[in-house]
């Protein structure tokens, strides 16, 4: 399909358009997307991981961790941006709020399930050995929960990167969503090229996070709990 050839040519030109000097380059847009996404995911991790991990440790509040988190996923991003725009105007703040709302649910749910699902016998044994609650969390539960927590972070990261397009629709420019939402200026080759970049970026981010996960998982655990949740759909059977 010649459109794909044109799209790759667009990528090869780093996003330049004939007759429109001074457009931000594709690499610049990609970096902005990463930046905006990273802030959103970072904030979400800071909020969701401690809460989810603690709830899983005390084996309480599954309703909060799972259902309340699901409400966040249920909120349509464009609608959230629209409401935020009405109250605060469209800026980085509102966009980040929308991204955090989207990213917290998979992270908090998986953090909860990860810690909650650690074999009770192991936890009891550790308690019997005299470990404090904090030590149990740090040395037993967290290492075992790493695969699931990271699965949640990976899911969230992919959601967030894909959602920057929607922010462009609402009027927030500077990310890879720009060419996709402005077909008139960038032509279809630009749309396709940027879309390919977004997909590639998501896959790269997923890959990097997987490597980080491997690094953080203690060797003994890697063989046992290679639970592959994958992107896009959290584990079945929740609630």
């Amino acid at each position: 399909m010649h459109q794909f050839v044109e799209a790759f040519e667009f990528i090869g030109r780093n996003g330049a358009i004939d007759g429109q000097s001074g457009l931000p380059s594709l690499s610049h847009l990609a970096l902005e997307t990463l930046k905006v996404g990273a802030i959103g995911v970072a904030i979400s991790i800071v909020i969701a991981v401690p809460v989810g991990v603690w709830l899983g440790h005390v084996h309480r509040g599954s309703f909060v961790a799972i259902n309340l988190g699901n409400i966040g996923r249920a909120l349509p991003s464009l609608a959230v941006l629209a409401i935020g725009d009405a109250f605060l105007g469209l800026g980085l703040t509102v966009v980040e709020v929308a991204l955090v709302i989207l990213a917290v649910p998979p992270i908090i749910t998986n953090a909860y399930l990860g810690v909650d699902g650690v074999d009770r016998d192991l936890v009891d044994a550790a308690r019997g050995m005299g470990m404090s609650e904090g030590e149990i969390l740090r040395r037993v539960e967290l290492p075992l929960a790493v695969p699931l927590i990271f699965a949640g972070i990976r899911t969230a990261a992919v959601f967030v990167i894909s959602t920057t397009t929607i922010a462009s629709l609402a009027g927030f420019s500077g990310t890879l969503g720009d060419p996709i939402a402005n077909e008139t200026s960038y032509h279809f080759s630009g749309v396709l090229g940027a879309a390919i970049c977004v997909a590639a970026l998501a896959l790269v981010v997923e890959g990097v996070l997987t490597l980080v996960q491997r690094g953080l998982t203690p060797r003994g655990v890697r063989v046992e709990r290679d639970v592959e949740i994958g992107m896009g759909a959290p584990a079945p059977g929740l609630t």
């Binding site: 084996h59 909650d116 894909s162 994958g230 759909a233 059977g237």
Partner: protein, 245 residues
């Protein structure tokens, strides 16, 4: 503005007084103008809500049927799983807006393009969930079914599918909520759904009342759908409720 006068004929057209029909509230763009809402409910907001439900229902309905078929096939012929997962995962990372725009050239700026894209996203979610649900059925249960003399087909119908039900309904829940969100973007190629008033409002000012009401309706729709499906989950799989946590 005398600069333009040079191009105007001396007489020019008759410009009627269109009259200021809207309330002060709207002109000042206050947060919520009840009069605008009641005047535009029947013509703008209610049709948009209805269309949004329709777009979602069609996509999830068709997507569900195809996903079940694909999952059953992949369950039977294991080699199908990898390629299907690969294709669906790659599709999922394509920004939805780009997929809509891509479909306009071959299919047209119509409901077919919108639904093809929405059904694709439904597939990604449901296929994975249904397949995993089928897979999670413990070996012993299947063996017991075989031991009881059930055929492959009977085991599927009476044992595997019911046991996979929690996963299936959980997947449906995610799918419905995701499609409601994606349907807000349909307006870019097809003039239906709650994205239409959101888009209009974004360009006007932005027009706060319409943003809040249209955005609010979308959020409410998603929450109601989510809630209904949770209820459905409870009804269909009462055994999952009795989980000691």
């Amino acid at each position: 503005m005398s600069g333009y006068a040079a191009t105007l004929a001396a007489t020019g057209p008759v410009i009627p007084n269109f009259g200021a029909h809207s309330s002060k509230c709207v002109v000042e763009n206050r947060f919520f103008c009840g009069d605008w809402v009641s005047r535009n409910w029947d013509s703008v907001l209610w049709p948009a809500l209805r269309q949004h439900v329709m777009l979602t229902a069609i996509a999830v309905g068709i997507g569900f049927v195809i996903s079940v078929a694909l999952a059953l096939a992949a369950h039977r012929y294991g080699w199908l799983e990898r390629p299907t997962l690969l294709v669906t995962t790659i599709l999922y990372t394509i920004p939805s807006l780009a997929l809509f725009e891509l479909l306009v050239a071959p299919v047209g700026a119509n409901i077919y393009a919108a639904e093809i894209a929405l059904v694709s996203y439904t597939l990604l979610i449901l296929f994975r969930n249904i397949l995993t649900g089928l897979r999670e059925v413990p070996e012993e249960v299947l063996d017991a079914a075989e031991g009881m003399g059930m055929t492959r087909g009977q085991a599927l119908l009476k044992v595997e599918l019911p046991l996979a039900l929690p996963a299936i309904v959980a997947g449906l829940r995610i799918a419905v909520v995701t499609i409601i969100a994606l349907a807000t973007i349909v307006y870019t190629i097809y003039d239906k759904g709650l994205g239409v008033p959101i888009h209009t409002a974004l360009g006007e000012g932005p027009f706060k009342t319409e943003l809040l009401v249209a955005g609010g309706l979308t959020v409410a729709l998603a929450l109601v759908a989510d809630g209904l499906l949770v209820l459905l989950q409870r009804v269909l799989t009462p055994w999952t409720r009795a989980r000691a946590t």
